[in-house]
Amino acid sequence: MKANDLPDLTLPQMLAENARSIGARVAIRQKDFGIWNPTTWAGYFERASDVAHGLRLTGLGPGGHLAILSENRIEWVLAQLGTGLSGAVTVGVYATSPANEVAYVLNHAEAEVILCEDQEQVDKVLEERANLPHLKRILVIEAKGMRAYDPDLVLSFEELEAMGRADRRRSPGLVAEVLARQSLNDIGLMIYTSGSTGKPKGAMLSYRNLRAEAFAVRDMLELTPSDSHLSYLPLCHVAEQMLTTMGPIYCGSRIDFGESLRTVQEDLREVAPTTFLGVPRIWEKLHSAIHIGLMEAGGLRRRLHDRGVAACEPFATTAPADRSLGQKLTFQFYYWTVFRALQNFIGLRRARLAYTGAAPISPKIVQYFRTIGVPLIEIYGATETTGMVLAQKLSHLEPGSVGVGIPNAELKIAESGELLIRSDVVFSGYWRNPEATASTIVDGWLHTGDVAEMRGGQFRIIDRLKDIMITAGGKNLSPSEIENTMKASPFIKECIVVGEQRRFVSALIQIDAETVGKWAEEQGLAYTTFRSLAEEPRVRDLIGREVAAGNATLAQVAQVRKFSLLGKELDHDDGEVTATMKVRRAAIYAKYAGEIEALYGAGRGGAAA
């Protein structure tokens, strides 16, 4: 255990401190109509203070809850820190969630003030207004088209800032007073778990948790003031919070907000950040984008790429400094001919460190990015641990492992195989749910619910404890291992394994419409929609071959013997995946029960060749 040597300050206190010590340096850049507008640390604190005053005027009291329903943008963090500076607590809500899910979180969190990004989000809240007895005020960032809305209920963020500024000039002192009283034991942030099983739970994170995680980030990811980060993953998720608020505010590094979620690829190329966090789906997407590009390029370029990958793969996990002269020369050759262009294409050429986390990823995909020279590490964490607790080191990359524990945590593996953690990063409990809290934190140890094992000093995560399947033959299976093996194919976007109490393993597979579509075009196969593509017999054969290739790397019992292709893409609106695109197993098993039974019925269902 290493002691936390960060200043003994809460996140809002640290922001005030930054405004004093490094006030003139740029803290945030927000892209607006193509221009990256900078905000300094002093400006960040000033605007957040105005917001704090404004929020008080809307009736948000100390300890009250402000919910935010928006994509990532500067107003998100201004509102979050403004809430902190006024002594209240922020709750993030996924902007992509349908109205009923939004209402569940808002109601459960007893949110009094809700900050919405635009009319669409406001309409979701208004639709469920009758179920939100705690609601006092709705704030909106982009007020376009909303003149007809009740001004006593809906207020623009701009007006809120102006009101706050005026109030602050008249009677300053609110912020200083709140900061003087704020302690590390206060709750600073509430994060709702994505709810892949059951209803979302609100994890309360104290300022002590946030500070402990900032220390872990600085130590493991070596975050320095010269680093920059593009904030684009949902800020209501702990992973992006860790890299957008906790890390940068304690370490003094810069964050950039792009124009929208749809322009991430362009934004990445423009800012070329030094650090980059992607969830597995992002890496899978980048991987298929490269795959499609290569299919189109064809010929010499494709062959050169394939040879480069084959030549550099064997030493992909060796740190550049430890490579032999021959390996260095080989890499340099392919770097200048192929890999450099690929790194530019995905905007990661200047990345000194890239991470993947939040869900299991296929080792094949990780290996690919390492081969082309992206310094990619796997990290592991949970909402209940305020983010990362395990991370790989670039100097020691072992495929399939998630590295070592952060310095300020004790880790152990229980007899059941479950990973247990005791640390300052362990959360303070679930909001209004003491039973769940008591079963999660036992005698000071957090029960992660993940089965882990330790090999050569490195942790490996096997699967969720409750997801482990037992076949009719009594064998234990890890569904995510099988699923990730299949998802390594660029043609397979989603795979849901069935096997509990069954004679053999089968799977429901969702094809990747883009890559399979491109493949169909090359084959001269006519198709119109996703469904027609999925029903095409030759596509079935293609997936059959991909499944067979995946099976070859799996143990006999874990091999997928039959599969069914889904006729539509899994969707959050249909309750099949969570806002973070995690599959809701129970919902899928129930919804596709017919397809699943057919797989175990007589004959039918595609057998993997």
Binding site: Q119, D123, K144, G145, A148, G517, A520, E521, A526
Partner: protein, 272 residues
Amino acid sequence: MQAAPSDLILQVENIEVIYNKAVQALRGLSLSVPRGQVVTLLGSNGAGKSTTLKAISGLLGLENGELTAGKILLDGQDISRMKPHELVRAGLFHIMEGRRIFEDLTVEENLTAATFALSGRGLTRTPFDLVYDYFPRLAERRNQRAGYMSGGEQQMLAIGRALIAQPKLILLDEPSLGLSPILVEEIFTIISRINRQTGVSMLLVEQNANVAMAVAHYGYIMETGKIQLNGPTSRLIEDQDVREFYLGHGGGGGEKSYRNIKHYKRRKRWLS
């Protein structure tokens, strides 16, 4: 798709169209027209509907466009490399958007010009009276200069020219454009009658989804160069997204007030 290939008068398979060697307008687009049926292709502005028609009739070259991939089969024969005038003689007639007729010629002269399509096909010439039967108004104006006629009459003439050409397939690009509702109804009634009586197949591009759905047997919905949804029109008109975005039946019913119009679009799902 819904019929054996031999019953398909037109098959478009995975075509890709690029304008000015730079702008990709269509990619991996496929559709088919069963013999004797009316198929409609719907979509918003810029979705690529007219481009699709021009790709079929070989007119892309006029706009610096190019068919870079895929196949187009007319009655089983690959026509993707054929010249427009050869296509007309092969039995394909494209009624372009904006009533393209010879404005300086009379009605009758316009019809005479259309007989070009018959050359070398060994067909007997359709009497012009057939056209005048369908469109009595043209009979009254047979010796008038076409350019002086009303928009509706010009559209009738454009369709009349197609009748003279005796095609196997008519491509119709927005026949309702700029016409009064009553004329739209009249023209579509006649289009439907022509299909029933002569058995000619049609691929109809329309913005006015209501009338197109009423006459077509099958429909494709297209957005940004891709087919999003297809099916028999009887099923399409039940689809919630089609109803909201194409047929103008918003949620809740009743007249929409512009004051309440939303500044965001509900996400389209295109299921079913």
